[in-house]
């Protein structure tokens, strides 16, 4: 068995050499993407994927970059823990991508980031807000704000706009995003003179939250902060309303999904969350993006992750153009020097920590609709 293998390999190499001139004609720059296209958080993977795909299509239509076409290779991690690392390895070692785009979830970005770092392949997370993601190394970037900003915005919003003195917390024990955001909210809200009368936990995939909510109801509060993902948040609010809890529920960008209103229904009225983008924003860049998106994806309205996916792809191509190369270290240096890149979510400037500082948008849910409330600058 040992001998035929090298022979076969040699044959393959010959075949590859023979094919090489043909390939050079269509010498596309390969960009990898890993996303949760199916599974529990499929809505996010679909959104970010549509944003990324549209950005690359537009760039190709305008002549590509460095005179070459861009090719997107997408891997689905099925929202399953462990799959993102496998996807990143495959994209880097087999597909030879020059950079990776992904993920929305911080937990899944943290799986792939060490692999990108070790292979010196730049990775841009469209929407992972946990601070730890870009701390993995100097090849890891993001184009969204981080949780310490988001937590501060929501703590200020609860204490200021909503005039809440007592805010209860209910967060996931097994989700890096939820744990981090809950901690920052608690610190900032208490520092602002508020009180946290109850702090309850749940595990990812839980469906019954009545016990935790009953305890929160007994403790008494003016609002509840739910720094989780939409699948759980919608059920939490729905069950809270059934228990007669009428106070506002607040969330972060984990709430961004059409499913939130589908699962939560009328219960979601009177809730607020912070996000990166609102299609109702009237700035010309946003309006142009929304129009293009609707035309490309049969009338679908883009959400925050579609916009961030679009911007992540835009920032990457901009860096490749400025670097004049697709080599990892040079693209990384160009990415780190990104200043005021104009995209769907406003201007992106990469700071020394490889994070983007961007305004947060607060959305109010009223009459079963998402309403743009305000933008909070960093």
């Amino acid at each position: 068995m040992a001998a035929p293998l090298p022979a076969a390999l040699r044959l393959l190499a010959l075949a590859a050499l023979a094919a090489a001139p043909a390939m050079r004609a269509d010498d596309a720059i390969r960009v990898g993407e890993y996303a949760s296209l199916t599974g529990k958080e499929a809505s996010w993977g679909q959104s970010s994927h549509q944003g990324i795909a549209m950005a690359l299509e537009q760039i190709n239509a305008a002549g590509g970059v460095l005179g070459r076409r861009l090719e997107l290779l997408t891997e689905d991690n099925q929202t399953v823990p462990g799959q993102s690392a496998t996807a990143a390895k495959k994209l880097i070692s087999r597909d030879k991508v020059v950079a990776l785009l992904g993920e929305v979830s911080s937990g899944r970005s943290l799986e792939a980031a060490p692999i990108c770092q070790a292979n010196r392949i730049p990775m841009i997370a469209p929407a992972s807000t946990n601070p730890k993601v870009t701390q993995v190394g100097d090849y890891i970037f993001r184009v969204c704000f981080i949780d310490s900003f988001q937590g501060t915005v929501m703590a200020r919003f609860a204490g200021g706009d909503l005039k809440a003195r007592r805010v209860a917390l209910i967060s996931s024990v097994s989700n890096a995003y939820s744990v981090g955001l809950a901690r920052i909210f608690r610190e900032r809200f208490v520092a602002g003179g508020g009180a946290i009368p109850a702090e309850q936990k749940y595990a990812e995939g839980d469906k019954d939250f009545r016990a935790q909510l009953t305890a929160i109801r007994a403790a008494g509060c003016d609002a509840v902060f739910v720094p989780g993902y939409y699948t759980e948040a919608a059920l939490i609010v729905r069950q809270a309303r059934e228990l007669g809890m009428a106070m506002p529920f607040l969330g972060g960008d984990g709430w961004v999904s059409d499913e939130l209103l589908l699962i939560g229904g009328d219960a979601m009225n009177g809730c607020y969350y912070s996000t990166h983008f609102s299609p109702q924003n009237v700035s010309p860049e946003v309006r142009r993006f929304v129009e293009h998106y609707r035309a490309r994806w049969s009338g679908a309205t883009p959400d925050a992750f579609a916009a961030l996916g679009y911007d992540a792809a835009g920032v990457l191509v901009d860096a490749i153009r400025r670097a004049g190369s697709t080599e990892g270290p040079r693209v990384r240096d160009a990415l780190a020097r990104t200043r005021a890149f104009s995209g769907a979510t406003g201007e992106t400037t990469i700071d020394a920590n490889r994070d983007a500082s961007k305004p947060a948008t607060i959305i109010a849910i009223r009459d079963g609709r998402l309403n743009f409330l305000e933008t909070v600058a960093p």
Binding site: Q78, K207, A211, T214, A215
Partner: protein, 296 residues
Amino acid sequence: MSEFLQQLINGLSLGAIYALIALGYTMVYGVLRFINFAHSDVFMVGAFIGYYVGRALPLGTVWGGLVSMAAAMAGCAVLGIVIERLVYRPLRGGPTLNVLITAIGMSLFLEYSGQLVFGATPRAFPQIFPSKVMEFHGLIISMNQVIVIVVASVLLLGLEFTVFRTKIGTAMRAVALNPGAAQLVGINIDVVISFTFGLGSALAGAGGVLYALNYPSIDPLMGVVPGLKAFVAAVLGGVGNIPGAALGAMILGMVETFVDGSRWSTYKDAIAFTILIGILLFRPAGLLGRMTSEKV
């Protein structure tokens, strides 16, 4: 005090759903001595049948809800019988391990076929029964919780009646006691086993619809966690014992609810399972299970 009573109601409705699934595990084990791991996926199929039928009927009506549930129970009963006929029957008489591995395979087959057929994205389950929230002196109970508790109790009593007061129930108990002897006295074992699977799967179907009604987000992997919990409940009560499964499910539902509502909610599963291990240390056959000594 009012918080305690509220948690009691929450625990009761959670336990009632675990009980419906646990009964299917325990019945099949009682008759065939093997754990049907595909049971939790039949539960998932039940929720999806309820979803499709429920959307075709007027929402928020009692008859619409009952028809959806009946359709889910009928569909699951057929599925259970077909699975037994095609997958488990050819292996009957073989080593127990073969059937067990096959059951795991069947479970994975249903889960991933579900992803292919229904898609992996969670869907919002429609409100098929009228929704209402009732309040008595600060205690709040939703219509969905009432429906879960009432339907589970009715099905439990119906099951108890079937097993102990009908001819087919007597035959089931005879097969459970000694299949060979049952065959000798003229019981058609195949019919009895098909019936057992059909009945257990119908309960799982009802459980699926009730679960989806309370937690209205369904996906093809939704059966895994409640299935595991129900299996544990069945073991706790004494696997093979019908009232035991219901008791085990109630205890598990209550413990989970009270831990969740306390300061230690982070350790919910750890505490719930430590209590279970404790109970099984002192009563290895489960709370209501009969101790049997192996004769050598």
